[in-house]
């Protein structure tokens, strides 16, 4: 027992087991129920779109990491796979493969790596990919397949906006409606969301304030809040997209504000905007103000209430 070489290093000498890599993995796991349901409803085509999106995202990630001479970590790849999965979830199963690949390229190369890669991107990559596709190929991107059927049909949000026809809540809940691959079954998305809350992989403030705002807004303007919660990409957006750690606020009060802002913009677009759906743009718009939220909504400072605290 002499001359031992002792390690010195900064405290703390204990670290939590949960790491960033695991956090990304948890989100992927949470999305699996929704994935299985959509394959069940939309068939093999949905499965293929998902596979193409995930694989192409991983390939682009690999190329970009090599090009930028970065050491690749598992977190990088989990995050890229997640981006691919989310991208596939918010496009229709009718999307041709080449378009899926273009979407992944925009997501990974432009939205993520041009901004500095993991941790530095301002906008949610999957949503940028989707927004690009929607803007470039509007007709193709709004061709929705009906579940269990090879014929195309409108989504519940199209129906209500263009023809004023409401869809029953129960198919909305289970996912038996037209729409993007992963967004149709609220049930599966909620189950995954509960898992994420249990694992503390997402900030609960964002979905809570998102849903809350949508409910309040619906009441004020006399539309059915449950319909708006369950229809379209709201569940997917509020639980999985808005909560993306990189593009949501670090500040906790900022989280409340961020979710509420997303909810408000979504409803404004849905009721009065040019598109039937507003989730994607609402989140992208709120992404842009995240740096401001982090800077100006840092929360109370411990010890700020000095006057009050002296009183008994």
């Amino acid at each position: 027992m002499s001359n031992e070489k002792l390690l010195v290093g900064p405290a703390p000498h204990f670290r939590a087991k949960e790491d960033s890599e695991g956090m990304m993995r948890d989100v992927i796991i949470a999305l699996l129920p929704a994935l299985f349901l959509s394959i069940y409803f939309f068939g093999i085509l949905a499965a293929i779109v998902v596979i193409v999106a995930v694989v192409s995202s991983l390939v682009f990630e690999y190329i970009m990491l090599r090009a930028r001479k970065k050491t690749a970590t598992k977190t990088d790849y989990y995050s890229a796979a997640l981006t691919g999965l989310l991208l596939a979830f918010c496009i229709t199963s009718a999307t041709p493969f080449w378009a899926v690949i273009v979407g992944s390229a925009v997501a990974i190369v432009i939205a993520k790596h041009f901004f500095g890669g993991l941790g530095f991107n301002i906008f949610n990559p999957a949503l940028v990919g989707r927004a690009f596709l929607l803007a470039s190929y509007p007709v193709m991107m709004t061709t929705w397949f009906k579940p269990m059927d090879a014929i195309t049909g409108p989504t519940p949000l199209n129906l209500i906006k263009e023809q004023g026809i409401s869809t029953a809540l129960s198919p909305l809940f289970f996912g038996n409606v037209g729409g993007s691959i992963g967004e149709t079954s609220a049930l599966a998305l909620i189950i995954g969301g509960l898992y994420l809350l249990y694992r503390k992989a997402i900030d609960f403030r964002i979905p809570v304030s998102y849903f809350g705002t949508v409910i309040i807004f619906s009441h004020i303007f006399g539309v059915d809040p449950l319909f708006h919660l369950l229809a379209g990409g709201l569940m997917l957006g509020a639980i999985y997209m808005a909560t993306d750690p990189v593009t949501s606020p670090v500040s906790r009060p900022g989280g409340w504000f961020f979710g509420a802002g997303c909810g408000l913009i979504t409803m404004v677009i849905r009721l009065w905007g040019g598109y039937p759906e507003g989730v994607c743009y609402s989140i992208l718009l709120m992404n842009a103000v995240v740096p401001l939220l982090d800077r100006y909504l840092p929360g109370t400072r411990f010890g700020a209430k000095r006057r009050l605290s002296l009183k008994k």
Binding site: F14, E21, P245, V250, D294, P298, G303, R306
Partner: protein, 440 residues
């Protein structure tokens, strides 16, 4: 109150107290040699009062300073001074130290005389006695206690909180002290109450120590024992005050600004011991522990005993020693060598073997911040550690100051939870140093 018996933020690290919590405090073997550093508390170093060749007796003062913020040091063994020279200490710095070889006799110095009992002694005399005995905060802050006990006139203290939270993993020295040395603890609390002129005293204990809570509730009748939720850093002064009294120490302020005085349980017991026997602070309880240490123990150790002797006394380890901490794993310091002495702030010696380090470090490299916000979630003083670390990396100390870096209590909760394993608290400490030096 919304959050009962706890504070906002905080973490739940593994507790690891099972190795030593059932073991009563034992007297460590008398060391053959001690190395007593002449700088052991917040404040200025002392000058040596002895020279090579001098004979010293137990309790003799060997180092003192004229500075107000300072507490003298004494020797805990009798024998001969063999050197007064710079020696390595736990922080890796060389500090002028007195090296004494024991003669095994333990003759007590004439200067050690009991003080009058509490009813007969004046406040002035108590503070003086505490000062001469070199008592410092034993929770790890090592701030001279006599200064704490003489707050400026305009600060009215109305509450005394005794800190028995012991939220650091592994450490059980305060827990054992509460069980094994209750008479000194009770007497110490009475003395502190007399000095501060307060009637209300609390003792805060985390609820993972139910035995101590029950025991103290039975034995201490004039002190309110509060069971606190087990959560790190419950033992931080500011968190303790917030939890027990719901008062927030203003940022940049001291507990006395909200009328509170916080003393560690071991400090209270030491005050009592000194007044009863006149013996200055020559030893302290140290938890010597580790998963692979053969016989972990809570030892009463003479200040200046070398880590190597204590680890040997505890049977050595199974495996190779790879990391040794002074204090617990959350805020403790990894020491550079085993040949460093126990000082007044050494609450624990935690030994990790190669095997444990390998397990801990596997797959553990630093990654980029993914902005998950876990660090902001746990920060007990509501900072944004991630942003602070970003600015500290860039060396933007102005910005760090604006983001209240100085409020950081250096608890390390942020680094603990960071999934990207960034050394956040290390960066913030760096920022604090630089703000003190460069930012007006």
């Amino acid at each position: 109150m919304l959050f009962k018996n706890t504070f906002v933020g905080g973490i739940h690290p593994p507790e690891e107290k099972e190795f030593t919590e059932k073991l009563g405090i034992e007297e460590a073997t008398l060391p053959k040699q001690v190395v007593i550093p002449l700088h052991q508390c917040t404040g200025f170093p002392y000058r040596s009062l002895v020279a090579k060749g001098d004979l010293v007796k137990v309790g003799q003062k060997i180092g003192d300073s004229d500075s107000a913020i300072s507490a003298p040091v004494h020797t805990g063994i009798s024998g001969k001074v063999v050197a007064v020279e710079p020696r390595l200490t736990f922080m890796g710095r060389m500090v002028e130290s007195v090296v004494i070889d024991s003669d095994g006799k333990q003759d007590v110095s004439d200067s050690v005389k009991p003080h009058p009992v509490i009813e007969k002694i004046s406040i002035q005399e108590i503070v003086e006695a505490v000062k001469n005995a070199g008592i410092v905060g034993l929770g790890g802050a090592v701030f001279p206690t006599h200064i704490k006990l003489s707050p400026p006139k305009e600060k009215r203290i109305d509450n005394l909180i005794v800190n028995g939270a012991e939220c650091e993993p592994y450490l059980t020295c305060d827990y054992r002290l509460m069980l094994d040395d209750i008479f000194n603890l009770a007497y110490g609390i009475d003395i502190a109450r007399k000095v501060l002129g307060v009637s209300k005293a609390y003792i805060g204990i985390e609820d993972n120590k139910p035995v101590a809570i029950d025991y103290l509730r039975k034995k201490l009748n004039r002190v309110e024992v509060r069971a606190l939720k087990t959560k790190y850093p419950q033992g931080g002064e500011k968190q303790l005050i917030k939890t027990i009294l719901n008062r927030e120490v203003p940022s940049g302020g001291l507990p006395m600004d909200v009328g509170v005085m916080v003393l560690n349980v071991a400090t209270c017991a030491q005050i009592a011991k000194t007044l009863k026997t006149g013996m200055p602070m020559i030893d302290r309880v140290v938890t010597v522990t580790g998963k692979y240490l053969r016989n972990p123990a809570n030892l009463r150790v003479k200040i200046g005993t070398l880590y190597r002797d204590l680890i040997e006394e505890c049977g050595g380890v199974d495996g190779t020693i790879r990391k040794v901490l002074c204090g617990g794993p959350m805020m403790g310091v990894a020491v550079p060598s085993l040949d460093i002495p126990v000082h007044k702030g050494t609450s624990g010696i935690v030994v990790f073997t190669q095997k444990e380090i390998d397990e801990m470090e596997r797959d553990r490299y630093e990654e980029v911040c993914v902005r998950c916000g876990r660090c902001t979630e746990v920060c007990p003083v509501y900072l944004n550690p991630s942003l602070l670390a970003d600015y500290a990396e860039k060396g933007d100390w102005e910005m760090c100051k604006k983001l209240n870096a100085m409020d950081c209590i250096e608890c390390g909760a942020c680094s603990f939870v960071c999934g990207s394993r960034r050394d956040i608290v290390q960066l913030i400490k760096l920022a604090k140093d630089n703000i003190r030096k460069h930012v007006k």
